[in-house]
Amino acid sequence: MTQSIGVSMKRKEDPRFIRGRGRYLDDIKLPGMLYLALVHSPYPHARIKSIDKSKAMAVPGVKAVITGEDLDAAKLEWLPTFHGYDKQMVLAFGKTLYQYQEVAGVIATSREVAHDAVELVEVEYEPLDPVVDPYQAKEDTIILRDDREPKTNHIYHWEVGDKTATATALDTSAVRIKERIISPRCHPAPLEPCGIVADMNKATGRLTLYMTSQAPHVHRTAFSLVTGIPEDKIHVISPDVGGGFGNKVPVYPGYVVATVASVIIGVPVKWVETRTENLTTTGFARDYHMDVEIGATKEGKVTALRVSTVADHGAFDAAADPRKYPAGMFGIVTGSYDFPAAFAEVDAYFTNKPPGGIAYRCSFRVTEASFAIERGMDLLARKLEMDPVELRRQNFIKKEQFPYSSPLGFTYDSGDYAATMRKALDIIGYEALRKEQAEKRKRGELMGIGISTFTETVGAGPGKQFDILGIKMFDSAEIRIHPTGSGIVRAGTRHQGQGHETTWAQIVGEELGLDPQELLVEEGDTDTAPYGLGTYASRSTPVAGGALALAARRIREKAKKIAAHLLEVAEDDVEWKDYKFGVKGIPDKSVTMKEVAFAAYTNPPPDTEPGLETSYYYDPPNLTFPYGTYIAVVDVDADTGAVKVRRFLAVDDCGTVINPMIVEGQIHGGLAEGFAIAFMQEIKYDEDGNNLNTNFTEYLIPTALETPAWETDRTVTPSPHHPIGAKGVGESPNVGSPQAFVNAVMDALAPLGVTHIDMPLTREKVWRAIRNAS
């Protein structure tokens, strides 16, 4: 056996996908299955005066029509939100609070009949004035939530840091910048929509839920809490998931209605959302309106950071944040810089928009924070007339300061920010680019170079701080080694393309000296996998990855006893070296893990339990802090506002790299989403609360034509507390890249005096900014 970690092993999950043999939710077809389709509100805010089901019920094939009133009678109308501070309507009851809100469900013998009958459910509405803007919500002239006390649209105030010291430092700073920086509402839009097949078996009393789920165990617990069905009677299976990006973390009304229908009717019920349902009702992201202030000395040493945020949470506070972190890890807003003083606050408001606030390819609210600080640093550099690279270099947390206690309460694990930035500048040829830019500026050409030296925090998280539904955010692994030395590895995570079936086998293979090709990885089935909190917030490698390594080490401890027995030496004389058990001082005497595995079943030592299996629940001692330097080079067409991304370089540091090919793939994908957020993706509402981006012809996803070519490289600074030193990577490119693109465009427009444009930087917005400036 040789090394497994650090090897670009081809993915073990691919053979089924390239043959079209993946098994996604909508591929599941059970005998006698019925189909659910949902009725949606055309109004963002309206009283429901009446619902007439009769015409829909008369359609041949329609089995039931369920309304909010029906659910209320069954005490299933309200769904708790994950942090436990709010509840969410399953079907609109009394009034609707956002356009496209689910009002009724039709259950029928086919998808087509169900959708036909949806058109025949007659709902009489009395439209009410909507509140679309969170700043309008703040005024409390229209109260959206009749069901809550006190009567206000204000959901919570959260703050961290030293308010007074920060105010004093800002007031006495020689240089200050202040800007409202918006991270607009967008949507992860995985290509596979969300869905469920709920199958209540009345004979066994068991409810099987096939769900597009990033967190199957949490969903099992949530369904048990909502329905009162004991958890042993609920079996959640998350089949192959066609992308998640946070969209498949929450519980949606369609899941609940399909489940209720299956429990009542006693046959399987399938619900798969349409793309329009996906974009209008489920898991939006961002919608943070951040007032960013930075103070500095004239020489460019930062003195203080203050960020005051208005958060638009939509109609319910359904953001799946940990309980003690209503604004997630927004405190990472000091980024890679050593601020002597900092203060951040978030005020969240209800509006007539769908709920969500999910962590779209990022840890909770980290993308918003990272965007704020990286844009803020560029604005400060502009004010100081300093190169943004130089400003960053002067203010980086230094290598020798780690572990670093940030003024907003995080303990950064490790990093060498200056070295990573230096590597990126060398690769891109920064000085030559600046020279080229200076020449182009003389000719009136708009070329920009944008930099982002971000730090994010992922891997939620330590149980003393982080929980979902009260459940601590550990993760778990279970390993069974078979007599012939192959094995099965199960984890509490659920991949959606991240490659766990390969990388988990590599971690265990490395620890045990076994071939990853002979280690089957299984996730997503709550009957077989150990309890875990799931895959989102880049937590799989930092948390479950730790559990896997430590479970494997437990196996190795037992294997060592067996090895001593086989080698006929004392256990203390056995050493693990070169992926096998040897005897100290006797180089040619050894046994392999395969031999030990066979002995575990056929010839265990007399005092040792037979078999070779274990599990491990890993509660991480800290979060991890991946970081990187990203550089974008753009050319802007002054006549059309078109932006051409000429080059994009990402130099990441995610600690130990398990599979370089997969890490690079994750970075490519995240950069494409960062590009999308910077230039294209936005869920916009008009002043009446109408969603203007209800399908892929209006909500624009970049194609291969617009998407730039990516250049990648890395530095490796292992996390000191993680069992294998890995930090997680899937979200760094999405967290770190939007500001590199925006900074590049703003740098290109600098000669015109343009300082800030809110994302997405559409051709029209850029063109208008150029026109208004010149």
Partner: protein, 164 residues
Amino acid sequence: MKINVTVNGTRYDRDVEPRMLLAYFLREELGLTGTHVGCDSSSCGCCVVALDGDRAVKSCTMFAVQANGHEITTVEGLEEGGKLHPLQQAFWDQHGLQCGYCTPGMLMTAYVMLKHKPKPSEAEIREAISGNLCRCTGYQNIVKAVQQAANELTAEPAAAAVGS
């Protein structure tokens, strides 16, 4: 309506509702679930199949009855005699997929393109797959995979015959 459609070399005679989309005919009538549906508006390309071997069509935008008398190739029809098509092999080799949901449509689009343009440039590949969205890969490795397959198909006459 009665139709006969040849899918991956097998002829099927079926009676379908006129409004049934080809995508659902393949998935639900024939059980060929490799063809996916992702957007309902002909934007994402997860449902692309080959019509008569030389046209890439979005099967969510075509009725099953329109396929009457035609030959359809789906992702399940790419592998021959237990040997992966060079495109399938290349997607695996080059890490051209992550969640796998867009993969069948990407493969079928590339399969048809390579028939018309056996030696495409990078720009031509990007243009050809611009009707297929991918949220995971950032496209770069998909482009590399199509280049690998194109090289293999043009270098080896035997392999090229498989795709013709």
